[in-house]
């Protein structure tokens, strides 16, 4: 009764790793927003997927991007690890590229020691523009 299905429905998914006890496989929990028909509110519905992770580089708590495999690797493994989006404990802010934890950066952002003359004059000009001038009534 094993029907060999051709393609998987979900091609790319983002989920959180919940288990790495299997060899070269990560258990990933994926949440999707599903509309409750009576309340008309969206709730998270979770589903677990197994993903192939050949280098065993996932730790429990990572946010990962999974890519669907062209054909099933085993009975349950239909996806593979494409990239680790956020590594637990070592989150990198994609806008600045700096490591951060929660709502604060881990390293000092401003490098006032390495500013050149041109930088300081440019910055002071910008500060002058931003200064709010009070109108005399």
């Amino acid at each position: 009764m094993s029907v060999r299905r051709g393609t998987v429905h979900a091609k790319w998914i983002v989920g959180k790793v919940i288990g790495t006890k299997m060899q070269k496989t990560a258990k990933v929990r994926v949440t999707r927003l599903v509309l409750d028909p009576y309340l008309l509110k969206f709730f998270n519905k979770r589903k677990t997927y197994f993903a192939h992770d050949p280098l065993q580089q996932c730790v429990v708590g990572d946010i990962v991007l999974l890519k669907a495999l062209p054909e099933r690797r085993s009975k349950h493994v239909k996806h593979e690890l494409a990239e680790i989006v956020f590594k637990v404990g070592k989150v990198i802010d994609p806008i600045t590229g700096k490591p951060c934890a929660g709502t604060r950066f881990l390293e000092n952002l401003s490098d006032s020691e390495n500013l050149t003359e041109a930088d300081t004059t440019y910055l002071s000009e910008k500060l002058q523009e931003l200064k709010v001038c009070s109108t005399d009534n």
């Binding site: 790319w12 998914i13 983002v14 949440t31 999707r32 509309l35 956020f86 709502t103 950066f105």
Partner: protein, 171 residues
Amino acid sequence: MPMKGRFPIRRTLQYLSQGDVIFKSSVKVMTVNYNTAGELSEGARKFVFFNIPQIQYKNPWVQIMLFRNMTPSPFLRFYLDNGEQVLVDVEDKTNKEITEHIKKILGKSKETLEKEERERKKLSHPATFGPKKYHLRECMCEIEGQVPCPAFVPLPKEMRGKYKAAMKKEA
């Protein structure tokens, strides 16, 4: 009795169907990173509160994930089918600006939507009659000016099969 919750209008079908962001078929996952405190994330918070239900309603096959207080700066990230990732910085933007921006970069244009609407209309013919699921009207008696349904108004004698058969027999 009023509806429960802070802005219960978000939970009405009319509000949900008013969402105008329909993603292109290549968008698979949308990730929103925002903070629960701070003025810079204010627009992102309003976006999540008001606009995410509309977007998910219109795009049921896009996976939307929300992450709170992971990074200091709020941003949106889209994962497309060809492996491409689109990063949208939403720091210091209002929720209206965010929706306009994503509509412009990843939303289906009005022409594509109109073309799809026309394709869908072509499949069904408006002049046929049948079950409500597939046709507009079920019977000719529903139309004004036509013979009314005999279930409500009895047909005149001349139109009844019984009378016509009796006339034929007589002749």
